[in-house]
Amino acid sequence: MIHDSLVAMLAPGIFLTWGILGIQLGNLIVIASIIVLFVLALVVPMPTGRKRK
């Protein structure tokens, strides 16, 4: 009997391909997250709390 965690480990990842371009879904999510985070860091204003010297 094969343990469930071993089955999950042996399963192939999800790969997305466009012509010669191919990327694993997890890697694409990480790269997209970095780009989104970078843009948000530039455009979202930082809340300012109490004024201090």
């Binding site: 480990m9 970095i34 985070l37 970078f38 860091a41 300012t48 010297k53």
Partner: protein, 213 residues
């Protein structure tokens, strides 16, 4: 004026990095932007990586492969590394586009680049010491590339013992040392101002007037 080398060293260190610069209470107003947060984000992630790594090392693979809490700490180690690299890349992009090497900050930039490189090797050896089919696959793919460069004669990615020891000793020590030096340099030179900051801004010319709006 001191006459001993320890005295000279103390005076030099205090001149370069007085306590008020080492642990400042205020920052310039331009630091109130999210883009300045990611250096500290990387640092906090690194603390989580190290602490979870120490717990994994103390208990060993027979624990973290089998027990529930072991799985949790193992996952904590992985996700701290994911966040470490995620924050470090945003930090890198932010600093690149503000040309953060300006104002005698060349060495700060270089130590950042080196810490990124050493972190990649540390992360890579981490993938090699998972002791599962993934690590076996990754090491056998990587060995051909490394053998082609010649470094494979000494840095043997299929040698679990060697990779484990690199991963838990010299590489983390290297990352910690370079990151610590990087942070000290940031303290010495101060946070880099925006590229369009007015050079006559008193926050740049007189550190005594620093304040956060």
């Amino acid at each position: 004026m001191s006459t001993t080398w320890t005295g000279h060293l103390r005076e030099w260190l205090l001149k370069r990095l007085p306590p008020e610069k080492l642990m400042p209470e205020t920052q310039p107003s331009y630091v109130t932007s999210w883009i300045y947060v990611f250096g500290m984000g990387s640092l906090v992630s690194l603390v989580f990586v190290i602490v979870s790594g120490v717990v994994l090392a103390m208990n060993g693979p027979a624990w973290y492969h089998v027990s529930g809490f072991g799985h949790f700490v193992n996952s904590l180690h992985l996700w701290s590394v994911e966040l470490f690299f995620l924050f470090m890349v945003v930090h890198l992009w932010g600093k690149f586009w503000m040309a953060a090497w300006r104002g005698h900050r060349t060495l700060t930039w270089i130590t950042g680049v080196v810490s990124f490189g050493v972190s990649i090797v540390a992360g890579f050896t981490g993938y090699l010491v998972q002791t599962n089919f993934d690590s076996q696959w990754i090491s056998f793919e990587a060995k051909d590339a490394l053998n082609a460069t010649g470094v494979g004669a000494w840095f043997r990615v299929a040698d679990l013992g060697q990779m484990l020891l690199w991963h838990v000793t010299i590489l983390p020590l290297g990352v910690i040392a370079i990151v610590a030096f990087h942070v000290l340099l940031v303290r010495v030179h101060g946070v880099v101002p925006p590229i369009d900051a007015d050079p006559a801004d008193r926050q740049l010319t007189d550190p005594e007037v620093l304040h956060v709006d």
